[in-house]
């Protein structure tokens, strides 16, 4: 807790309250104990209290559950990452205690279940230990059914006390969460909560209180990145989707399957990923941009049909929730190793658009943007999100739905004559008419994956293949010129420029802030549009001595990652180097800075 950790108070004396800017709390136990729930409550509470919040969790690899953590960072100021080190570690078992103590800041607080954890004397020197018989007290509280179900809520009560959290709001959240089912459940939950809250922590001498965060003009909503993306698509006007389950993409399809019917749409679970993208393309052809998506292996399977979308120039949104690869890889870990397939997947020259959201909120708006680009440029658009954004919870300002909700239903106004692949149209962009649109001339278009003439009929003409290939490429060049100007985070001149994309925006910005605080001339550059790349990057590069591309993927055959490859190829600037890792985990701010400093001190 920025500053709390420093001031170690002497034993004895009365509890005193201390103001803090932010806190990183790591909850370690087993997934079955509902530790995610504790984190969820804290996050939502922070949202309602207009604080910033970010969470991070690990998912056990076995279905039956197992050791798992949930880390939540709550701040009155801007929260950019889930935090490198925890201020407090709440642990339910010996394995949680031993496995995660190292993630605790020296001087930090260990809150442990005294029924399951025996503290280690050495560690007691380094960290402030607080033991509570969480299991036992929970069983007592709910009336000795013998099962300690609810100990997570009990622990939530403890945290509420320690961090002086808003109890009415928490109570409300608990009621909302457990409401509906039989009332006894809500009752038990509240009992556990109060038991925890009222449990006296005589041996803990301090209560922390978050400094008030500046008032937000709109309410905050709290959700994870998959939810944000799914609702963004609905807001954009998407009403049809098709997919096949795969982690971590599945919840997007599950949300759309549940929600779309309210809007007169539907989402179909298909027999495989190939059928899903084909079905989505069919619906797009039907007149309204549709969505499909997947993760890992499922994305590879979609590349053939994606190529048809590029050739036929049919709009489509494809969501890729990246996970650890290659092959089945590491399904519940994060990685940014699908940039290559997103930009180049599929045979032949098949230019498509690739965008990457940087946060949960950005996932929401990126979805809308993707839909609009797909329609405007009549092209498939890939949204390259990842497991970290998918699973982490953030609070962000509630969107102004009345303002941004889109109607993109098809238009069947008859046309006099029509050529979808018209080479003469001045914007050079293909437009399709949906079936059901009458063409007065009686000449109807065919939409096809063969090289074609302007009406969509097959051609073997070298001239047409040359022209159509250029047409498909040039519209993306035009898109690039429509992109908003890229700006650096921090001054546009300095020693080191940290270039990143996707979910690493937060850690990179935090790294920049930290370095700046220490007087180091470090700035950040976040690239959201990955294919085509925005123009004018060379000017930005000119302002720095070192350009490091920070990516969660392998350094590759030649020593740099996937975005670095694109940038080096385009700009031929040897100062562009890679900071990469493939350990399946998000960046720690410290890792980035250490690597950057080391690399900068090396000769290129």
């Amino acid at each position: 807790m920025s500053d709390a950790a420093s001031t170690a108070t002497p034993a004895g004396g009365t509890p005193k309250v201390m103001k803090i800017e932010e806190a990183v709390i790591r909850i370690a136990g087993n997934s079955q104990d509902g530790i995610q729930a504790i984190g969820g409550f804290l996050a939502r509470l922070a949202g309602r209290s207009e604080q910033e919040v970010m969470t991070f969790m690990t998912i056990p690899s076995t279905i039956s559950g197992g050791p798992s953590i949930f880390q939540v960072r709550i701040g009155s100021g801007e929260v950019l990452s889930a935090g490198d080190e925890a201020d407090m570690l709440l642990c339910f078992y010996q394995h949680s205690y031993e496995g995660h103590i190292s993630s605790l800041k020296v001087g930090g607080v260990v809150l442990y279940d005294a029924d399951h954890v025996t503290p280690n004397p050495e560690w007691q020197e380094l960290y402030r230990h607080v033991g509570v018989h969480i299991s036992g007290l929970t069983v007592e509280a709910v009336g000795g059914t013998g099962r300690d179900k609810g100990k997570n809520i009990f622990a939530l009560g403890l945290l509420a006390k320690i961090f002086d959290l808003n109890v009415p709001r928490l109570t409300k959240l608990i009621e909302e969460r457990f409401g509906g089912k039989d009332p006894s459940i809500v009752q038990n939950a509240l009992t556990c909560f109060n038991a925890g809250y009222n449990h006296s922590l005589e041996n803990l001498l301090k209560t922390y209180q978050f400094a008030a965060s500046e008032k937000k003009d709109r309410h905050q909503v709290v959700m994870n990145g998959n939810e944000a993306l799914a609702y963004g698509l609905i807001t954009a006007g998407v009403r049809f989707g098709a997919g096949y389950p795969i982690t971590p993409w599945s919840d997007i399809m599950e949300i759309l399957r549940r929600e779309l019917p309210k809007y007169g749409g539907s989402f179909i679970q298909c027999e495989d990923e190939i059928a899903s993208i084909s079905m989505a393309l069919g619906a797009s052809y039907g007149g309204r941009v549709a969505v499909t998506g997947s993760s890992g292996p499922g994305i590879s399977l979609k590349t053939e049909a994606l190529g048809w979308g590029v050739m036929a120039e049919v709009p489509l949104v494809i969501v890729d929730v990246q996970r650890g690869g290659p092959s089945t890889g590491m399904p519940t870990n994060v990685e940014q190793s699908d940039l290559n397939i997103a930009c180049f997947g599929g045979h032949g020259d098949s230019p498509r658009v690739v965008l990457a959201p940087s946060s949960v909120e950005d996932a929401f708006y990126t979805a809308i943007e993707a839909v609009n680009i797909a329609r405007k440029y009549s092209t498939p658009v890939i949204i390259l999100t990842d497991q970290a954004i998918a699973t982490r919870i953030e609070a962000f300002e509630e969107p102004d739905f009345q303002k941004i909700c889109q109607d993109i239903s098809p238009d069947f106004t008859p046309v006099s004559d029509f050529k979808p692949y018209d080479l003469s149209v001045n914007d050079g962009i293909t437009r399709h008419i949906a079936p059901g649109t009458r063409v007065a001339s009686g000449r109807y278009p065919i939409v096809t994956g063969l090289e074609h003439d302007e009406l969509g009929h097959p051609t073997g003409s070298p001239k047409l293949h040359t022209q159509m290939t250029a047409k498909r490429r040039n519209k993306l060049r035009q898109l690039a010129s429509d992109f908003p100007k890229v700006k650096t985070y921090g001054p546009d001149e300095g020693q080191i420029l940290l270039v990143g994309w996707g979910s690493s925006q937060g850690p990179i910005r935090e790294a920049v802030d930290r370095a700046r605080a220490l007087g180091e001339a470090v700035s950040g550059l976040h690239i959201k549009y990955l294919n085509p790349l925005p123009n004018g990057l060379e000017e930005i590069f000119r302002g720095f001595h070192h350009i490091f591309v920070v990516e969660l993927n392998d350094e590759g055959l030649y020593g740099f990652g996937q975005l670095a490859t694109l940038l080096r190829a385009r700009h031929c600037d040897p100062r562009i180097r890679g900071i990469n890792k493939s350990d399946g985990l998000t960046w720690k701010v410290k890792e980035i800075l250490d690597r950057a400093r080391a690399l900068a001190s090396q000769k290129d």
Binding site: M279, E361, I404
Partner: protein, 320 residues
């Protein structure tokens, strides 16, 4: 990070199409007179002279004329193969998709555009080799569309390889000593998969082909027709035994056959070539289209009258 703007404003809805000169009047269906063959025929087919596919195309034209289809609503979808070139020869909205995936593509249209009836044409390889799984799942889900497989027992476009319907012993480029893999039985596969309309016909009997097309089109559900269509280039004479003009016999499904009896239908499919022609199986069962619609109705009843943005807002309120 709430400084997010959306650089790409939504296109106006009309943006989806090339700005037409002056918007044209919509012709009420009642005022339509059926289309003439001339209006509905596009490119001259690139098929080999004598290819069975010509008759299937001609009968599709007949169907369109006879049933007075509304020109702009005709939607023809195909995969890849000689037969799959079909849409290029029809002067109407059409799609030439990829090999083996025409059914899911067509399902996407069918499920999102209840106002259209989609026709899908393709070959035996497209349908039963690479496309076999989509065939089974489209059938079991009973998605409303008409699927006519032009079965020539061979891969035509790629010049004579064994197809899943090639009979044992057929000498192809991939079975120089004659095919050794047991062929599939399209009728049995369709019935076992749960198809609700299963018929068999042959290009040499125009009236029968047309009758099957009409019946399939009128069926509310997945309508599957296996239409024998000779590949004169790579499998000449394959179907002579089914062609009276070539000394063959054209036997139709017995009049007393109960088309709703799955087992009887399955048994009909046992007969050796030329087998029987006609409707083997027909059952009315709610389509996936209808079931999805029901789900929508139920869901929309709960939010009656609210504009989309309001539904979204209420949803987000629950995430505060």
């Amino acid at each position: 990070m709430s400084d997010i703007a959306i650089p790409f404003a939504p296109l106006p809805r009309t943006g989806a199409i090339a700005t037409p000169a002056a918007p044209l009047p919509v012709i009420p269906d009642t005022e339509r007179k059926g289309l003439t063959k001339k209006e509905i025929a596009a490119d001259h087919p690139t098929w080999c002279p004598g290819c069975g596919d010509f008759s299937v195309l001609a009968l599709y034209f007949k169907l369109i004329e006879k049933r007075k289809m509304v020109h702009e609503k005709i939607t023809t979808v195909a995969g890849i193969g000689c037969s799959s070139r079909f849409p290029y020869f029809v002067q109407a909205h059409g799609v030439h998709f990829i090999h083996g995936r025409a059914l899911p593509f067509a399902s996407g249209i069918s499920l999102s555009r209840p106002d259209l009836h989609v026709f899908v044409f393709g070959g035996d390889g497209d349908a039963f080799s690479i496309g076999g799984n989509h065939f089974n799942h489209t059938a079991r889900k009973n998605i409303k569309l008409t699927y006519c497989v032009m079965d020539n027992w061979v891969y035509g476009l790629t010049k004579k390889q064994t197809s899943p319907t090639s009979p044992l012993g057929f000498k192809s480029k991939t079975d120089q000593w004659g095919a050794i893999d047991y062929p599939i039985n399209p009728m049995k596969q369709a019935i076992a998969a749960g198809a609700t309309f299963v018929a068999r016909t042959t290009h040499t009997n125009p009236n029968h082909v047309l009758a099957m097309m009409e019946a399939a089109m009128d069926h509310d559900g997945f309508g599957f027709i296996e239409c024998l269509s000779e590949c004169v280039e790579f499998y000449e004479g394959a179907f002579d035994a089914s062609n009276p003009r070539k000394g063959g016999v054209f036997n139709t499904v017995p009049a007393d056959h109960d088309v709703t009896d799955e087992h009887a239908a399955y048994k009909l499919a046992d007969q050796p070539f030329p087998g029987l022609f006609g409707i083997f199986y027909k059952k009315s069962k709610p389509t996936k289209n209808a079931k999805e619609l029901e789900i929508n109705r139920a869901a929309q009843d709960k939010v009656k009258g609210q504009p989309d943005w309001e539904i979204l807002k209420k949803t987000f309120d629950r995430m505060k």
